[in-house]
């Protein structure tokens, strides 16, 4: 059970945290699909704390028991620092975590990470809401 049971599935749109008006570096909305929420549980294999975005990798067992490595994107190190993440403490390689986010539009094993439940049960945001950076619900102009 070291590799936790994977739970890969679509979550009801009503539960999705989309629609918030926030800003990050650039368009998560182009790369990731707000209509494809995903929750993954697995073992952290790597954490890359870089600008403009951090990434981490997660070994997740699929329905057939095959381990698939997922890559997830999120906030830069300074933002993680400000919001309570402690490097090498809050989340480390080898930890089993659950992450909620949205899948990449290209269908690969990539996702934009939002909320992570770390060992011990604490929940923290690793990335911004769905669609961040893509312009939101309304363009800046009215076009005649």
């Amino acid at each position: 059970m070291k590799h936790a049971i994977a739970f890969v599935g679509l979550i009801a749109a009503a539960l999705c945290l989309s629609g918030s008006s926030t800003s990050a570096h650039h368009s998560f909305g182009a790369e990731y699909d707000a209509n494809k929420p995903i929750t993954l549980t697995g073992v952290v294999t790597n954490i890359v704390r870089t600008n403009p975005h951090s990434h981490f990798s997660l070994d997740v067992k699929d329905a057939q028991g095959k381990v698939v490595n997922w890559k997830l994107e999120g906030y830069p190190p300074a933002v993680l620092f400000r919001t309570g993440w402690k490097k090498d403490v809050t989340m480390k390689p080898g930890d089993t975590i659950t992450v909620f986010g949205w899948r990449a539009r290209d269908g690969g094993n990539w996702a934009h990470s939002r909320e992570i439940t770390v060992p011990g049960g604490q929940k923290l945001f690793f990335g911004p809401p769905a669609g961040t950076g893509d312009g939101g619900n309304t363009p800046a102009v009215e076009v005649k």
């Binding site: 945290l17 918030s20 008006s21 926030t22 800003s23 990050a24 570096h25 650039h26 368009s27 909305g29 182009a30 790369e31 890359v48 870089t50 600008n51 403009p52 975005h53 906030y75 830069p76 190190p77 300074a78 933002v79 620092f81 400000r82 919001t83 309570g84 539009r105 290209d106 909320e115 929940k123 923290l124 945001f125 911004p128 809401p129 961040t132 950076g133 893509d134 312009g135 939101g136 619900n137 309304t138 363009p139 800046a140 102009v141 009215e142 076009v143 005649k144």
Partner: protein, 268 residues
């Protein structure tokens, strides 16, 4: 009835005086804007307290806390930006391409007022009687703003422009010219020309808050002045951190892949 109005007036005056008395003052009597601030927010408190909701930088501890507004999206209730028809079409095109043409996606500076309004990264004001220095964590930009000075004659067009300031009572008025045409103003696709002229008004209305009013004029692109109001909130205890955007910027290559592979991501 008259007594009621009088009482109300006294109360209002007292409330105003109380708010003003909490405004820190510099040795020269001017409001002191020195401090670390967060744009696009109305929430008082330290960074963690003010960002506990579902907004930028939230920790998720208080999901009902208000979302911190940002620069990419048009806030609810804001009127449309007054772009000339041809220019409005260009803004809409960038919106429909979900912002992949954002200069910030290339790690270029945020420009003004975007750098002031965005909420994910703090900004620090350092005030002296003769100049104000503003440091932006986002993209590592800075502004050195002399007070009671004229714009130099030999300004090089730049991302952050050339700023000079004066005090209008308790309001710091900053005049900014000398822009290049490579930033977005406030919202996806909100481009401008090198004729951009910006007037900013910073009014510290309480210990915790600066009211920010910005007027953008660009006769080559806009039909008239575009005015936005926002606020900056004091974030005691927050330190500016490094943000070396070019370190590992994978996104432009991924946008290219999306386009090359015909992955549908645009709006209709």
């Amino acid at each position: 009835m008259r007594a009621g109005f009088a009482t109300l007036s006294v109360l209002l005056l007292a409330a105003t005086a109380s708010a003003q008395s909490t405004v820190p003052r510099a040795a020269d009597g001017k409001p002191d804007l020195t401090g670390v601030w967060q744009g696009g927010s109305t929430q008082a408190g330290n960074w963690e307290e003010a960002n506990g909701g579902t907004g930028v930088g939230g920790t998720g501890r208080n999901p009902s806390a208000p979302v911190v507004l940002s620069s990419n999206d048009r806030p609810a209730g804001r009127a449309g930006a007054p772009y000339q028809d041809w220019a409005a079409k260009k803004v809409l095109e960038a919106f429909n391409r979900r912002g992949i043409d954002d200069p910030a996606a290339q790690c270029l500076p945020g420009g003004i007022p975007r750098s002031v309004i965005l909420g994910l990264f703090p900004q620090q004001f350092v005030q002296t009687p003769t100049q104000i220095v503003i440091l932006y964590e986002y993209m590592h930009t800075f502004r050195v703003i002399p007070i009671n000075a004229k714009h130099p004659d030999d300004v090089i067009p730049s991302y952050m422009g050339n700023s000079v300031a004066r005090w209008d009572g308790d309001t710091l008025v900053v005049d900014v010219t000398g822009f290049n045409d490579k930033t977005w103003l406030s919202g996806t696709g909100t481009f401008h020309s090198d004729a951009l002229h910006i007037t900013e008004r910073y009014t510290r209305v309480s210990r915790d808050r600066i009211n920010y009013e910005v007027t953008m004029e660009d006769p080559k692109v806009l039909t008239g002045p575009w005015r936005i109001e926002s606020s900056l909130m004091l974030r005691e205890g927050t330190r500016l951190q490094e943000y070396i955007c070019a370190e590992n910027n994978l996104d432009p290559a991924r946008y290219e892949q999306l386009l090359k592979n015909g992955v549908k991501f645009t709006r209709e």
